[in-house]
């Protein structure tokens, strides 16, 4: 029997500012613009919103700031902050809140001006005294340690990691809204500056501004909207804060969040048409391919290098260009959901995955610390 939560709520609007370099705009400007675009897409207004789910790096009280600026009257709010995966955690919370009648229209929104504000990834103040004396670069050194261990255990190579950056770029070249659209080859990635072995500058995501938003309702109301996308399954997992506390550096908690999402959806990795994996670094895509069951553990490098995830491959992954080539305002997770929804709505132009009915959006937070997986379905899957 199908899980009662399968298809219970739906995304009825998406908003994306596509302003990846926007001096003179605050994080809140970006979050508000995305929210308005998502509400217009849903055929709703700010008057209709009674649940707000919001997280951003610019404020410790994002719900208060965003609700004030948008003039919202809320019955329900959730500011869960677990890094860049927060918005997929919000989807799971929204499933509970909408289903329980705690709210009727849920707005999930995010904005950042980190590129214009300083050009560096802006992390929340969260000092780690057991790491600080050793001067790791945050967050890249944590991911580098995971990559080094993966190479040690499974023979993963820098060339295989580089192929992930190249696949993302090849997708970005088909997305007019992507920030980086120039040609990129394996040799370019290998020749770029090593920042924290084994990761080079081109193994790293972009540093951009940007905003994204989603509007969700219960499925009974979703039918009134133009292009609903149903939440078939969603799982979340919290593993650690500091990288040294990660139980196994080569297996992420995506294995847990994915298992829950697949169970709720009643689907397996072989039934997914389109995949979005939060690629803060090339090693992320590789490990999430393994942990979400698209290939076996240790085979992620060979799978990616085979061309499987690139345009024309067997598994379309990160079709917007990903955090590596499209945008990365600091907490990228919401954009994995937006691209997945837009693919299921058939709105993706040259990069459209033909006939996509089921998409998986996976988001990561902290230093592989929090993981959340959403499986979305077109109306045909309900």
């Amino acid at each position: 029997m199908a899980d009662a939560n399968r298809g219970r709520i739906a995304i009825v609007g998406t908003g994306i500012t596509n302003r990846w370099e926007a001096p003179g705009r605050t994080a809140f400007d970006q979050a508000q613009e995305a929210a308005l675009l998502a509400l217009e897409d849903a055929g709703l207004t700010t008057r209709d919103v009674d649940g707000l789910f919001c997280s951003l790096s610019a404020s410790g009280t994002p719900v208060l700031n965003v609700a004030e600026r948008l003039g919202l009257t809320l019955r329900h709010a959730d500011g869960t902050m677990v890094g860049g995966s927060s918005f997929v955690f919000h989807l799971r919370s929204a499933l509970g809140a909408l289903s329980a009648g705690l709210c009727d229209v849920a707005l999930v929104t995010y904005g950042s001006n980190q590129r214009s504000a300083g050009g560096k990834l802006v992390a929340m103040p969260d000092p780690q005294p057991y790491e600080l004396p050793y001067r790791p670069l945050y967050p890249i050194s944590s991911y580098a340690l995971a990559a080094a261990r993966h190479m040690h255990e499974h023979g993963t190579t820098r060339e295989q990691l580089a192929s992930i950056a190249v696949a993302a770029r090849d997708w970005a070249r088909m997305n007019p809204a992507a920030m980086e659209r120039g040609p990129l080859g394996i040799d370019d990635v290998l020749a770029s500056r090593v920042v924290s072995d084994p990761l080079t500058k081109l193994d790293c995501c972009l540093v951009t501004d940007g905003g994204g938003a989603l509007v969700l309702t219960r499925a009974d109301r979703a039918k009134d909207h133009a292009a609903p996308v149903y939440l078939l399954g969603v799982g979340s997992a919290v593993s650690h804060r500091q990288i040294a506390a990660m139980p196994d550096l080569t297996t992420t908690a995506a294995a847990q969040s994915g298992r829950e999402a697949y169970r709720m959806a009643g689907l397996g990795p072989g039934e997914i048409d389109h995949v979005m994996l939060y690629d803060a670094f090339t090693i992320c895509t590789l490990m999430f391919l393994e942990d979400l069951g698209f290939c076996t553990k240790g085979e992620g490098g060979a799978f990616a290098a085979s061309g499987a995830i690139a345009p024309g491959g067997s598994l379309p992954v990160n079709t917007n260009g990903g955090g590596l080539s499209c945008n990365h305002p600091g907490m990228y997770g919401i954009f994995t959901v937006i691209e997945a929804a837009e693919q299921l709505r058939g709105r993706c132009g040259a990069r459209q995955v033909p006939g996509a009915e089921v998409a998986l959006a996976h988001a990561n937070g902290g230093v592989l610390s929090s993981q959340a997986t959403a499986i979305l379905g077109a109306p045909s899957t309900i």
């Binding site: 005294p129 057991y130 790491e131 004396p133 050793y134 001067r135 790791p136 670069l137 050194s141 580098a144 340690l145 995971a146 080094a148 261990r149 040690h152 500056r193 090593v194 920042v195 924290s196 072995d197 084994p198 500091q242 990288i243 040294a244 506390a245 550096l249």
Partner: protein
């Protein structure tokens, strides 16, 4: 007042676990916790055993023997340095630094703990163990 057994739970009296760790380093000791209930070792310390949930695990001196679990070389304009995750012989893993040439650090390499002072603060680092030493 705050240690009044009528008001506070005596199991948690005294310095907190982080303070005990730092006080140990200041005395030249790597103080890790060993749970009296399940026997698990842990570091960094906590108010409870993360393995079994038992409260207030006690401290023991670590052997100082460890191996490299993973390593990265951070390359900056002013030079390169190592950041590693080391696995203590007792089991817990910690972020630390292996001293010497960062290019020579290998996963699995045997290490010996050493406490150095940096900016007036004791810091736990590791040296490659002499051949036939820690494993």
């Amino acid at each position: 007042m705050t240690d009044d057994p009528q008001i506070t739970d005596p199991r948690f009296d005294g310095p907190g676990p982080d303070a005990t760790w730092h006080a140990g380093l200041a005395r030249g000791i790597v103080a890790i916790q060993r749970c009296g209930g399940c026997g698990a070792h842990q570091a960094p310390p906590s108010l409870l055993c993360r393995a079994c949930g038992a409260p207030a695990p006690g401290f023991v001196d670590a052997s100082g023997k460890a191996t490299v679990y993973s390593a990265t070389t951070i390359r900056r304009r002013d030079g390169a340095y190592n950041v590693s995750i080391v696995e203590l012989a007792e089991g817990p893993r910690l972020m630390s630094r292996v001293e010497g040439d960062p290019e020579a650090v290998r996963i699995g390499m045997a290490l010996t703990a050493r406490i150095v002072e940096e900016d007036g603060i004791p810091v736990l680092v590791f040296d490659p163990a002499p051949a036939g030493g820690a494993a």
